[in-house]
């Protein structure tokens, strides 16, 4: 048997990869690629369909039960008007005061919950002893709905600010701690073994295996946690508050001005979306390895 080799590429020494564009070039490349995919068009179309349906229900046809609800045209015209009929628009300082107060509360609550929850979760996942001490109490308190804490929070803390922050912190603390703990428990035993034979001390194992290994779960937990923080914040602001988007929504309802109510809701939606986008962005920045591993799996 003879083998004939057609070595046609023998002389071709062109590198398999071209130079990667940087900075602005990369951004341009991404934008071009994005516009060539159907995604942005589908998204715009989707939003348009939903808006149209909403308009049809409230303003186009004014179906029964919908006529009291402000439609998209009413809301938008009030939202961007310098003299809003119902008192709230992007030109009124009150509007920004509400946003600012809610955001500040979320920031404090989220930072507190993360600063307490991540270390506690890491320790609970890593040390069986710490878990034994804390887990039963943790699991008893965790299922208590955050609204059930409201009276206690008002009794425990003075003023408007602290009870509201306490409630938001509590809710996101549970989400962060639990996810962090699960993150540590999800780390494959083989990494601990590898670290063991490479001669790491306990402290090194903690910093170089436990912390980075739990990171993907921690950031999933933080995304959930910022979501529940908003949830409990608004609930708390509705019960006890002088400012904030939750307060805006409820007080508008009480005063029968429905447009600011819906503006408050939509603003919450945008701010909430933005805050989880920040958490996701930071997570992806810190976990390039995870982003790349997911990319290799085609996700």
């Amino acid at each position: 048997m003879s083998v004939i080799a057609h070595d046609v590429y023998a002389g071709d020494r062109t590198p398999a990869r071209r130079q990667q564009p940087t900075g602005f070039g990369m951004a341009l490349h991404r934008a071009k690629k994005g516009l060539r995919s159907p995604t942005p068009y589908l998204m715009v179309f989707g939003i348009a369909v939903w808006l149209f349906a909403y308009w049809l229900l409230c303003e186009g046809l004014s179906l029964p039960r919908f006529e009291k609800i402000p439609g998209p045209v009413t809301i938008l015209s009030d939202w961007i008007s310098a003299n809003p009929q119902q008192g709230t628009s992007i030109y009124t300082p009150d509007y920004y005061q509400h946003i600012y107060v809610s955001c500040r509360r979320i920031l404090i609550a989220f930072v507190l919950a993360t600063a307490l929850g991540v270390p506690l979760g890491l320790l609970m996942g890593w040390s069986a002893k710490v878990k034994d001490y804390t887990f039963p109490l943790f699991e008893t308190l965790r299922p208590i709905p955050i609204m059930a804490w409201v009276p206690l929070a008002i009794l425990m803390f003075a003023g408007y600010e602290t009870p509201v922050i306490f409630l938001a912190t509590l809710a996101s603390f549970f989400a962060t701690t639990l996810n962090t703990m699960l993150g540590v428990q999800s780390i494959d035993e083989s990494y601990f073994r590898a670290a063991g034979c490479l001669g790491s001390r306990k402290r090194d194992v903690f910093w170089h295996v436990v912390v980075p290994g739990a990171m993907p779960f921690i950031f999933t937990g933080l995304q959930i946690s910022i979501g529940v923080a908003w949830f409990s914040l608004v609930a708390a602001e509705m019960v006890s508050g002088d400012f904030g988007l939750g307060y805006l929504i409820l007080s508008s309802y009480v005063n029968s001005v429905t447009v600011p109510m819906v503006i408050g809701m939509l603003t919450l939606g945008f701010v909430g979306w933005f805050s989880s986008a920040i958490v996701r962005f930071v997570g992806n920045r810190l976990m390039q390895w995870h982003v790349k591993a997911l990319a290799m799996q085609g996700r």
Binding site: R193, A194, G199, S200, R201, H208, W289
Partner: protein, 295 residues
């Protein structure tokens, strides 16, 4: 990504006095798992020796307890009775003098290939930073990953991951290198390439090696001695010396000597595999010759 055959390149290596001088002895090692009333013995009364500078291959049927032996030699697990000695000293726990290349990849996915390699010496503060990094660069070049230093393990192919793990182990200059089915799961193209690559690496300084595999061909090609294990509980069924000269070449595998060794080993393994079939054994009349024809 495809695996390319990376030949160990000749870069001057620092002298490694430890390589090839260590002896490992297993004396009457037994290990079982489970509660007292349902205890299942996995390793029974195992005695064998790994000579300095030898590559000793453990071959045995799947699930017979090979990884359990590896864990005990590495120090992650302890024998119920008997002892394991490295250069006369009893093994009590994991340490950098016994490096393991695992069955599944255990590169830290959150570190780049380079950071994985320098991990051990960096944490143990051995030598200065430039020294460690120089050695890491040298080893990564040697295993053919020079261009992949800043990639994460998930971005490497299976064969590359195995080589990165070899580099991570070798930088610690272990007395004993333990490899637990390191090439299992590699595709048919890269497996022989990795075997040959690993052979050249071993033959360079003959660092005492304990190699676990369930592939008899691979074992004969690589090893100085085969320790053939029985079905669970693992016991030594035979110790077979492989008289092939080094450096080993693929063509040696077609010699009558190899054929005879393979026949012997397969006979034992076949025997043991049948036992694990239990009651179904009499349905499977395939003899070792047929077994081999499939290999």
């Amino acid at each position: 990504m495809t695996t390319t055959a990376a030949k160990p390149t000749a870069v001057t290596a620092p002298v490694d006095h430890a390589a090839g001088k260590s002896r490992v002895e297993l004396k009457n090692v037994s290990r079982g798992f489970g509660e007292d009333w349902a205890r299942e013995e996995v390793v029974r009364n195992l005695t064998f020796e790994i000579k300095p500078g030898d590559l000793t291959c453990i071959v045995g049927p799947s699930g017979c307890g090979k990884s359990t032996i590896v864990n005990m030699v590495a120090g992650y697990d302890h024998p119920d009775s008997g002892e394991i000695l490295l250069n006369g000293q009893k093994v009590v726990g994991p340490a950098k003098d016994r490096m393991v290349v695992f069955q599944e990849t255990a590169l830290m996915p959150w570190q780049t290939t380079f950071d994985n390699v320098v991990f051990g010496p960096r944490l143990r503060h051995e030598g200065s930073r430039p020294e460690i990094e120089k050695e890491a660069h040298r080893l990564l070049e040697k295993v053919g990953l020079g261009e992949f230093k800043q990639k994460y393990p998930s971005q490497l192919s299976g064969g590359m991951q195995r080589r990165a793990e070899l580099a991570r182990a070798l930088i610690n200059r272990p007395l004993l290198l333990i490899m637990d089915e390191p090439f299992r799961g590699l595709d048919a193209m890269s497996r022989p390439l990795m075997q040959e690559f690993f052979l050249r690496l071993f033959e360079e300084n003959r660092r005492t090696n304990l190699f676990v595999t369930s592939e008899i061909e691979e074992a004969i090609f690589l090893a100085d001695r085969l320790v053939v294990l029985s079905n669970r509980p693992a016991q030594v069924r035979a110790v077979i010396e492989i008289p092939l000269p080094r450096p080993r070449q693929f063509h040696m595998m077609s010699s009558p000597e190899v054929f005879e060794i393979k026949r012997q080993a397969l006979e034992i393994l076949h025997d043991e595999a049948m036992k694990s079939f239990g009651g179904a054994a009499h349905f499977a009349h395939r003899g070792p010759a047929e077994h081999e024809a499939r290999a």
